[in-house]
Symmetry: D2
Subunit: 308 residues, 4 copies
């Protein structure tokens, strides 16, 4: 922060690599897209905001990366809020329902009260029908046989035609648009301007790029992350990948167990696991236990064997 | 605010008239409802919070109404934020899409990724099909003939049956719930817990009880207002009706015009209206002008004639 | 909203009249300032966002002003959220305490834990000491005699010197900055980056440009409004002045009374005022009544006489 | 979620162990306190909200703890938002400045525009003056000698007397309260009602119970956590301690290093650390590197030796 008030004139901060793709749609799903309409700030804005706190003069550029990593690592979120981006997106409404749950964004959505609905829903191809996951109550895994899928796809196409015939018929009969739309399918496309600051965008991406997120919104999140944010704020993106996407968290209990296991004190580890209720044997078969299972997955990542 | 710290013990604040209906569903639409699950605070909490600012001791109960009216009139919103309510609602998804745009609430919604979708969409009866409004691009007005409506209702019933057959078939074939649901109609019911503070709830009600709001969500808003909020915080509700629902706002230009008209200076009023571009004559016919029209509606409420 | 996806490339939206003052400090109080560091959007962005709802093609530029006025008049706030601005401000902490109560902004403030406090508090000149308002419990009105004020100013200068001597002495003795600062005066200057969208900025300005706001923060608000927002989004600013700053609201009761008075039905007006408890006579003296008084002020604006 | 709508009547959820301390002040610092004024919800409300998503009937109580732990572990934050608490606090303004930065709470603060300021600032005793930390630019560590501290405390007491004499003199002379207060010290006490949901309260506690938080606000946070939240929602509190307070996060790079070290591949670990720039030798002395140092602290917790 300057000690006097003889400030130089400023120019708006721009990012060349993002300017190159401004307005350009990135395709997602069969008919959706994401494109940048406007933005504000850069990696430099994060650094600048953080340095307000220090009251310090100009620092070496070479230290910017370290500072951004420090901020990300220690959850100092406010400097990331100094960057803002506005996207124009085309998304099926069922994915949009999940999207809009993030309350910190500004939104202007296409209105099917004012206008005729977009005449397009996501069409599922014969090899895109996903099985219900068995391990994960909310997810999907693997695909139906293409021959079986084909039956569903044909059936869907017919259904869509039927629905839009009915919709158009209602409109022709004079029914209000706000009511005529009521039987459009959930996967009908909508469009919106969506504006959000970088901190909240990264939070959105963390949740929606995750393997537990539904495939459709995950595709949007990946496109936003890899095609847009990475170009916009490369240092923040690198720190985000390292400290959020690729990081692992160990609870207090897990730290205690890991200390024993990584020091080859396997018996003590088993005792502790029993004590906290993670390990029980019945007829020499071990119980199933969700927290233990998640811990075992992390042990595997560390190339350590489970001691029970 | 007490000058010493010998505080008395407290009991949770309760409102008898609200306790009487706790958990009881109020029916909305053909299969929806709203019911209170929990709440916190009362008219007294608003008064208590406002008086923190004054550092004053206990005041007469008779002044509470005046204080609440003062706060509402002057947009002192924070005392109203001290009250909180949690509702359990069952709403068609197209109304829920509008509902959820209010970002200040806490929400837990029924998930059709985890569970089979609710097997129910809003059914429109033969006398409930609304015409597109002509005066208002986003609204509806009047109803189709029942005989015409009947055709649409029969068609809709058939469509719903078809859609749920397809949904159930997909589920049987093992398709993931998150994908099988994609062609359910927008008016499929969902359920949610919805928790919000009184200030933001009143803002929601102001927008959604308005005649410009879509009929469906307006019915929910009216039920929440008249059946629930009125019982919960009767003084705040009265002030809300007087200062928000039944109030009229006059812009700077409108105040200038109203001054002239209510003082019978009609010629001057016409001159002013011309000057600010609200009145133009062509071939002795007056132009159409939206702001002027809205002002004329307020003149009519005041039983004053327009001077042009 | 375009019907196909052959979007043209975009350039960031810039506003020439704002670019001219980018980085330039506007002085406020004896040592404070406000300056624009970065921004995003313009009047055009508001229009663009609003038109998403209509799904319409390009409209005539001449209609933009009308659209922006319509949005402001009907409290369609989301299009205004599409504009964002980042300011660098230097503000005394007692004004900053009020400022920061607006929760919708992003903030990075100078930290007196990391750095030595800014060696400057607001100095009140001999003719700037304000009297406690009598009509308004929270305000001020008029000024002390300059000779009396001079005594206070000299006393203050001595106090400030004493406080900073003590602060510097603590720092020299090795006391932590976070603790050494505890006795600095509330009017010590702080600095911050403050980023907010246009809708919330206008809400801030409406409250803080108001005559009830404390003089110090009011000066900041006026500078932001008249020097910055007016240059940035001139159409939105004009609508804001007309529909927010210069508008008057009449409650349901006030509309009823105004109808009678502007139609010269004074007796009926008095009866109604008695009925709703606004007018009571005792010994032929009228009571004092806050709501009635506020209404009388609006009557005066309309050049109408009160009938009681 | 019930399949029919024959809901039973409800009673407000209460928590006996919290009701016992309702209204009772817990002392913090020399003259501050925290007390619960009202609350809504319990551990049961978290479970209830989470189960909306499953559409499931009543589950065994024994599974509630596991569900709450699952939600906390996987950052499913919305169920925790269903609980709300309102506190009455008395806090020095410099701590309140930090407190109020958490934007998700509802606040009504004592106004020194309306009322005479609270005649009390934090008094630092002779053995409470803390040294500036050397390792941590923003913190403190250790205490000044009591004899040195005594000088500072006496000086402070004199200063406080002087300041309040000046404040009272201004008030007597008729200076407006809003201006007279300008030279009160930052550590003057203020009071407020502060209302927040459990999710955001836990976020506040995580940051403010942390050793990097300033001692003063840390004392408030610990009191709120250990005396209030623990009584209110014991299951959520246990999960919070295990997964937030006592957990450790390892970045992608750290996981790679830990895998090698815990598998006794020390040479490879050193190579990797060099490769990513964490380890450099100059004249056989290792460089200082902040990220590496933080990683070494975690290794120590795991009782593992650093390999470089």
């Amino acid at each position: 922060m300057p000690s006097d008030k003889e400030f130089e004139k400023l120019k708006p901060i721009t990012v060349e690599s993002l300017d190159e793709i401004l307005g350009q749609p990135f395709k997602v799903l069969d008919d959706g897209f994401v494109r940048v309409v406007d933005y504000m700030g850069s990696d430099q804005s994060i650094v600048q905001a953080a340095r307000v706190s220090y009251g310090a003069g100009t620092k070496k550029v070479s230290q910017d990366r370290g500072l951004i990593r420090y901020l990300m690592r220690h959850h100092h979120s406010t400097p990331f809020e100094m960057c803002e981006i506005k996207l124009h997106v085309r998304v099926p409404m069922d994915a949009w329902r999940q999207w809009i749950r993030h309350r910190t964004a500004n939104v202007n959505e296409y209105s099917t009260r004012y206008s005729i609905a977009i005449d397009q829903a996501v069409k599922t191809k014969s090899d895109e029908w996903r099985f219900q996951a068995t391990s994960n109550k909310q997810g999907s895994e693997g695909f139906l046989e293409s021959s079986e899928g084909n039956i569903l796809s044909v059936e869907e196409e017919k259904l869509h035609k039927n629905i839009w015939d009915i919709y158009n018929n209602r409109i022709e009969k004079g029914v209000a648009r706000e009511q005529a739309r009521k039987d459009l399918p959930l996967s009908t496309y909508t469009e919106a301007y969506w504006k959000i600051d970088l901190h909240n965008l990264l939070h959105f991406l963390r949740l929606r790029m995750d393997k537990h997120a539904q495939l459709e919104i995950r595709n949007y999140a990946k496109t936003i992350g890899n095609e847009i944010v990475k170009r916009w704020v490369p240092m923040a993106w690198e720190a985000f990948e390292d400290y959020r996407m690729n990081s692992k968290s160990f609870s207090g209990s897990e730290m205690n167990l890991l200390t024993l296991i990584s020091n080859s004190e396997n018996e003590k580890a088993v005792d502790l696991a029993k004590e906290i209720g993670w390990v029980k044997y019945k007829d020499s078969k071990i119980n199933s236990h969700l927290e233990r299972k998640e811990f075992e997955e992390k042990l595997e990542l560390l190339n350590l064997s489970k001691p029970w």
